[in-house]
Amino acid sequence: MTATRPRHEQAGHRAFFVGLARAFAGALIFALPMLMTMEMWWIGFYIDPWKLILLLVVLVPLLVGLGVVSGFKPTEGLRDMVADAFVAITIAVVMSAVVLFVLDVVTLDMPPREVVGKIALQTFPGSVGAMLARAQTGDRRQTRDERREEANYPGALFLMAVGALFLGLNIAPTEEIVLLSYMMEPPREIALAALSLALMHGFVFAVEFPGSPPRRPGATFMGLFLRYTVVGYTIVLAICLYLLWTFGRMEGTGGAELASACVVLGFPCSIGAAAARLIV
């Protein structure tokens, strides 16, 4: 049947299925740690429905933004990015449903609230993974360095937010964040915040100066530190707050404990934020 079709159409279909397979792989790699975390299953059924809805609504502009910032396939317009975002969502839903069903986390005799909650929660990391994997297709490699040169400041901050969200989502649902914040005394928390900033700046430095001579004449140490590291860490803390609120770790928690939990969660998030600019 396919033999009668024009050659370029067959090639197009092949590229489509290869792209889907890549996206499935990306969704799996990103979401597997969360698919196999019991807190994520529990949060799936006890999360406030409105918080889950907000998470799903935020997902769409996040995916489209990821498509725009990572700037793959230069011929693509905004409409294609939107299509890519929804393709990523389809893949994430199917992947989460299959994996959770096989793992016996989702069964047929569960009420729909539990099934939908568990799958919807996993759709978030899964679709980010699928979107990033789709970004790896096409002639991206050639344009990578050019894009980095052009990469604008808001785009860089957006990528930092995605990186923070990615690593933070793995860790925020676990009990350990709250436990660590109870265990740690203020001096250690201040030390952890300082360590987060220092490591973040190390990554920023590595991105800015891949060779020995600085590429940008205006990029001084303090300028980079304030523009990327400090602003980046502020974004990281805001994302930590959002994640802790979404996963119901904020209710009834005092201000000091909340700040402490943000610093603890901010550690992995800041590494994710800084590394995102190297990876994506």
Binding site: G12, W42, L56, D80, D84, A85, I91, R113, I119
Partner: protein, 131 residues
């Protein structure tokens, strides 16, 4: 047809999958909104029923089912059981269930040394925490 307008590289297949994604997302959001509006707040409504009694080694195992007909999850749900002879409690036991989600059921077992057949067995949910 799409190709002529502004160089789109999305194939009809991709548009189909994208539309499916949009439908799935809207369905999940719609269901959650419906659930939130239909069941606002409330408390867990928990009941326990005995399923089966089986001889196990030197004792007996009573399998029972707990069901939550409320719209909120009960965490660390304690279920206590009393085996009575008249008004006297001859044996007692308790089970803690980690989570009992809204409109869900879970099964658990109670291990007794006496045969519950000749006694009055009461299985009652007693407390929970909010997750």
């Amino acid at each position: 047809m799409e190709r002529s307008s502004g160089g789109t590289s999305t194939s009809p297949w991709e548009w189909a999958v994208a539309l499916l994604g949009l439908a799935l997302l809207l369905a999940m959001i719609g269901y959650m909104a419906f659930f939130a509006l239909a069941h606002e707040g409330g408390v867990p409504v928990v009941s326990a029923d005995q399923v089966r009694v089986e001889r196990a080694g030197d004792g007996w195992v009573v399998r029972f089912r707990v069901r939550n007909d409320g719209a909120v999850t009960a965490a660390s749900l304690r279920v206590v059981a009393e085996l009575r002879q008249g008004t006297a409690v001859v044996e007692a036991g308790e089970v803690t269930i980690d989570y009992l989600p809204a409109f869900s059921e879970r099964q658990a077992g109670l291990i007794l040394r006496r045969d519950p057949g000749g006694h009055d067995l009461r299985i009652v949910p007693s407390s929970y925490t909010e997750p």
